[in-house]
Amino acid sequence: MTGRPLVAVVVFPGSNDDRDAAWALGALGADPVFVWHEEEELPEATGAVVLPGGFSYGDYLRCGAIASVAPAMDAVRRFAGSGGPVLGICNGFQILCEARLLPGVLRPNRQLEFVCRDTTVRVEQDDTVFMRRCETGQELVLPVKHGEGAWHTDEGQFAHLSERGQIVLRYAAEVNGSLGNVAGVVNESGNVMGLMPHPEHAVDPLLGSADGGLLLAALVDAAAEHVLAAA
């Protein structure tokens, strides 16, 4: 027992931001542990789960579709069902949508071009565990790098999600054709979040922004609380 909460980083074939996520989580006080996609259980002391960015299974069929039915995802589903915090970044967001743990789906960028740059996102809702170090209306600088980041859902569900405060991050300006400029959403119970921008690439001023640390540090807090609650 290190006193640091264990955060499981699930690694799929084609994940490529798993190490950056683990490095950032470690720098923010967590004990990151890689979990291979074929594992059927998460480590017993898991306090939070991160699904990292990348191109799991080569984006075959639809981004995140194949990964959404990997054995490790059954364990992630159980963990989320028990109230455990789960954060999906980029491809991780796509996986959570395909697994129907989050509403909507990520579609090819409107401009059909890969977009790789810093973006400004606005915090729409600070009333979830993930956003508690931020304030509603705050602007964060976070990089994006994706070809399929246009979040979409039907109009009825979009209105419902907006009303319920499940839209947590929006781009300050058009980035990829995402409906309502949505950059991040949470599930109904607020313990599963997905976002296209990469907080793990923005945890030190040397990287251009440390704003991502606000989100990941909140996840580490939530992980510590979940471990305590489960004990």
């Binding site: 039915v69 789906v105 579609r107 090819p108 979409h152 859902t153 039907d154």
Partner: protein, 80 residues
């Protein structure tokens, strides 16, 4: 039994891929209306009955092959 699943972007869903193909065909001198790009999935189901085959393929579609938010599916069954 063999199944062919046609997965298409639903009506009303923006299809930037289709738009890009349309633009390229126009550059080649073809006069075309709108173009939509989907996917074809051929499945060999072995020796099974029609009703069972349809039930299986419908489940495959809802669990993995298509995303009902944005895609429609058409299933064609052919005796192998």
């Amino acid at each position: 039994m063999r199944a062919t699943v046609l997965v298409r972007p639903k009506d009303g869903i923006l299809d930037p891929q289709g738009e890009a193909v349309q633009g390229s065909l126009e550059k080649l001198g073809f006069a075309v209306g709108s173009i939509r790009v989907g996917r074809v999935i051929d499945i060999d189901l072995g020796a099974v009955g029609q009703a069972f085959a349809r039930e299986q393929v419908e489940r495959m579609c809802s669990e993995l092959l298509a995303n009902p938010l944005i895609e429609s599916v058409e299933i064609r069954l052919v005796e192998a």
